[in-house]
Amino acid sequence: MPPALAVHALEKRYGSVRALRGVDLAVEEGELVGLLGPNGAGKSTLVKIAVGLVRATRGRAEVAGARAGSRAARAELGYLAELFRFPGWYTADEVLALHQRLMHSDGGAAERGRLLERVALDDARDRRVDGMSKGMQQRLGIAQALVGSPRVLVLDEPTSALDPAGRRIVRVLLEELRDRGVSVLLNSHLLSEIELVCDRVTILRAGEVVAAGSPAELSRPRGVELETDEGTRTIEGALREDAPQLVAEAVAAGRHVYGVRVLTSTLEDTYLEAVGDEVS
């Protein structure tokens, strides 16, 4: 079975600017993959190629085995753009009804009601878009992306306008979708969000993949911290497995041990290491 979404040796040039320089990425069935990188790293370009909005200069992108941008690929896809707008004179329900018709979804009012409920907009069903806050519009955008139960969901900065409660709603929704086998490519600046929900993370810098793996794989051991009556000291290079031995040695040396902590780098550490001092 082909991956839900795959790009191979993807390149994109805008004139003399090389936005992507041979990127490989795969999102397997039911997998949630996070895309990280500073501004200008090529994340949005990659996402746009994957959904067929932008043409690749070289390489290929596929959705469920179909060429990205083809009708078959678009039928499997739900997408929330980073910069999007719905006509202000449509109500939330009308926006979803429009996309149901375009997606050939026969879910009817039941599907629309269910989607609005999932993004906590069930009370705003008949509210016009131009009367909604940015956060509400973004949640409506997520509901729109879910019309027709797509196999693959591509979300470009889906929580940029959301408050903490809104982000939590989206996080829970993403976890639900993963449990249902939906594959998600999530482009976000929010490291904590990516770390919390994603199975794997790909970090781009200047159009190239500079790090990839699960959040656990990307986190490296940084030693063991021991708190004794002499104070706190860090044993660099020590692993989790070394902790009992270190405690035993301290006790044997007559120290009182108050605490021991295994130190690992966070995704933020890995990210900053990978992208250097580029501002995100």
Partner: protein
């Protein structure tokens, strides 16, 4: 088919919401009232027009054809205003505002999307042009008891001209921002009209060079040629000095006319649409 209707409805609602129709209906109503007044007074005073002795001018035919020519010019202008404002931002404008991306990623196809928007604008504009043209013919008939020898064909040619402008506007929207596209299409429209007037001047001055320039412009911008052909059809029964005077006026003869230009106009329209679809398919959004 339902997708086409959905997208046509989407464009229609956008136009209603943006008050494009409201503005056009208001302008049209003002024009028709003024046109009715003018027609009424012209035909009321027709008997007072006395050409010099020995000059054979059919004042009723002259006034009727001249007034209908004026109405056709106004209808074309208002139809083009409607057409341009319905379509000037179909691609670049909607993409800049983020309205297009959620639609393009749906399994509709860019060609279907673009052609549906064209079809929506074309249906609205054709209905509009035929309605205004029909009302103008009716006003002249009621006020002056004159009707053109071809009643429907000039209206259809006028509508065809507006449809070509719609195709050009949609093609322009793939490459240009809304403002730039609006300016470009109106300038093309103005250039076409100027070329038509130039042809009339060339005819009056008996200048083959100016007439040739006008013909080239008419083939390059066939909406103007269709409009001219429509003018020719409303005055084709006017003979003698009446016909000559109509030819000299701003709403007179056509220097490119007949089936050749009609077939060319259809081909031109198809080529503009094919080019628009081709460019839109290749366009990064």
């Amino acid at each position: 088919m339902s997708v086409v209707l959905t997208i046509m409805g989407y464009g229609f609602r956008e136009a209603v919401r943006r008050r494009v129709f409201a503005v056009v209906v208001l302008l049209t109503a003002a024009f028709l009232v003024l046109f009715w007044l003018a027609t009424h007074y012209v035909f009321t005073r027709l008997s007072t027009i006395t050409p010099p002795a020995g000059v054979d001018v059919n004042a009723r035919v002259f006034a009727g054809a001249f007034l209908l020519g004026l109405a056709m010019f106004a209808t074309l202008f208002l139809g083009v205003v409607l057409a341009v404002f319905l379509t000037l931002g179909v691609v670049s404008g909607d993409a800049e505002r983020g309205l297009l991306q959620p639609l393009v990623v749906r399994p509709v196809g860019r060609a279907t999307l673009l052609l549906s928007r064209f079809l929506g604008a074309a249906v609205v504009s054709v209905v509009y042009v035929l309605a205004v043209y029909g009302i103008a013919v009716a006003i002249i008939d009621v006020s002056g008891h004159w009707t053109p020898p071809s009643k429907l064909a000039p209206g259809l040619e006028l509508a065809g001209g507006v449809v070509i402008v719609i195709a050009l506007s949609i093609l322009g929207s793939v490459f240009l921002s809304s403002t730039a596209n609006g300016i470009a299409v109106f300038m093309l429209f103005g250039a076409g009209l100027t070329a038509g007037l130039l042809g009339t001047i060339g005819h009056a001055l008996n200048s083959p060079t100016i007439e040739h320039a006008s013909k080239v412009a008419a083939w390059a911008l066939p909406f103007e040629a269709l409009y001219q052909d429509g003018l020719r059809l409303i005055s084709r029964n006017a003979s003698g000095l009446t016909g000559f005077l109509l030819q000299l006026g701003p709403f007179g003869g056509a220097y490119v006319h007949g089936w050749g230009i009609r077939v060319w106009a259809v081909g031109y329209l198809c080529a503009a649409l094919v080019l628009a679809v081709f460019a839109f398919r290749r366009r990064d959004l």
